[in-house]
Symmetry: none
Subunit: 186 residues, 4 copies
């Protein structure tokens, strides 16, 4: 085995590039150059550029959810964990200079046949919605129905905060979202 971890290096490199430059702005050539891998090696591990992006999104999802859990772990009440999401957003998004959300960013200008990527975005957002709804159910302050409805409202706030902070390169939308969030959770 000449070069160990080829696949890992491809995903790692592609993740950086896809997230920071965009999917369409990142060519296969740049990925393999920066990963130090032969083009054919890449195509032995991934059928297509889309599949590399899917691997990136799959891995990001685990990391992102773990980081969320970690970030809100100090809060005792489940409701506070939900409000805590917006502190997590602040940490994350200031860190990446308001580059926004990898899933949002990749689906908005995508070749129409790249359904696997689209599915990843739907999956990620649905998982996050479930997480929020779960927290609200666990909190015990709301009926199940109410928890599910509130979960949807919180999701809107999260997504709005992310995209708006990306546009304005500023944290005010996250703060505004947090404020609203507190209001709707009483």
């Amino acid at each position: 085995m000449k070069k160990p971890g080829v696949k890992e290096r491809i995903v790692e490199t592609a993740s950086d590039l896809f997230y920071n430059q965009g999917y369409n702005q990142t060519g296969i050539n740049q990925i393999i150059d920066e990963a130090g891998v032969a083009k054919s090696s890449m195509y032995q591990h991934f059928r297509s550029k889309e599949d590399v992006a899917v691997a990136y999104l799959v891995e990001r999802h685990s990391v992102w959810m773990e980081n969320l859990e970690k970030s809100v772990s100090s809060k005792k009440e489940a409701k506070d964990k939900v409000v805590g999401i917006f502190d997590y957003l602040t940490e994350w998004l200031t860190d990446v200079n308001y580059r926004g959300c990898g899933w949002q960013n990749i689906i908005t200008d995508l070749p129409s046949n790249h359904t696997k990527i689209m599915n990843q975005a739907i999956f990620h957002k649905t998982e996050l919605l479930r997480w929020v709804q779960n927290q609200l159910i666990l909190d015990g302050s709301y009926t199940n129905k109410k928890s599910k409805d509130l979960g949807g409202e919180v999701m809107v706030l999260i997504e709005g905060a992310i995209i708006l902070s990306e546009i304005h390169k500023h944290s005010w939308p996250i703060k505004a979202a947090k404020k609203t969030c507190k209001k709707i959770l009483i």
Copy 2:
């Protein structure tokens, strides 16, 4: 002038394509083909593809704001106009099968030097923010400070509703956003 309205036809065609297919998915050739214009004619009117996109966004802005005004014109109270935004979103986004927001969509996967387009997005979202804040001030229920803060919160809801409905191809995020909006405007 052989072909009158060349410039207009380019912008019109490009608008359809950029919005519906995406910026990166739309090539110069498709634009000039569908507009029935020679390539060099296009480059006489626009320095670059980016400039065509800027023209598209500039025009869209006027139309979008006008449509918003029209849509909420029946409401008497300014506060109701703000809540009415979400009915406008519903009309618009179901109409375009949840294709999302032209400004959001175009900035998320853009060559890094396309600052003119980025500026258009900032401009559009700022104008909308001002509009919302203005309505809240006009309503008279809030202090100026409060109106400005609430305006930011409403913007988050708007943006979240748009992107989330684009992801899920469903109207529930808009409904959720409207619900939240009503709550925060008491």
Copy 3:
């Protein structure tokens, strides 16, 4: 106009290469290099490699049929013109060192979706068949029905002579075919 006759130069170059090296052995890059043309210029004139090949075959067809006419023009009797085909084959095929028939060669190892090329081969062979049948009708020695049947038999001889001389790199199959041809035309 910087480089005049770009299209012509492409077809000319591609013709040489397709015929002498084979369709699959000839890449787009070699064609444009030897023609001294930019790749995009080529794709402005031809949608695809297949289309270049079609242009090659279309042009070859005219030339080939004209050459045939010229070669047999000295014969007075139509029947002798038909037999004269084999002298034409000899001239041609020794000239190209028994490289065989461009149409035969290109259809035998073709991507399955290259139907335009296949159609060119069918067209060329059908036109040649019609020519032979016409000569036999003009000759007056045979009924129309007989002329048509004999035309088919002559075609088999032509095709067999070409492919077999290509395999053996030798003229004997052409001579044998001529011999047979004389027999069946009385």
Copy 4:
């Protein structure tokens, strides 16, 4: 030996693919995938793709000649066996939907250094020629010289019938060839 008959399976699979799709249209990967063999295993048995093709042609030759013998075995007179070739062609070529002759097909679009394949084609066609000539000698109706000459003429008919039926996807050239064959064998 984990997988017995690896070599056989490769040749078998490659034969199908080379014959039905063409040499250039068949990649090494498809062969090993469909044969269920590791790539390196293949290269242990064969130096190159060309060598696989040679093995395919070598095996085909035995089968093809055997099938010919079988097909004409019912005929008593040697001359009838020769005419019977065209019935054999009909059976075979309708069976394979006029896919033509594996040797003809493979030599017409080949990298120029693939001489081993070319030699196989020459060998196969020469063997067939010898077989025909032998039958005519055995028949006793002709001098040795005449038999050899007639053999060449029959070969032309065979080859013409095969390639022409491949082009037109029709059996008429085989019928025409048979008719001619009967004429030249008195």
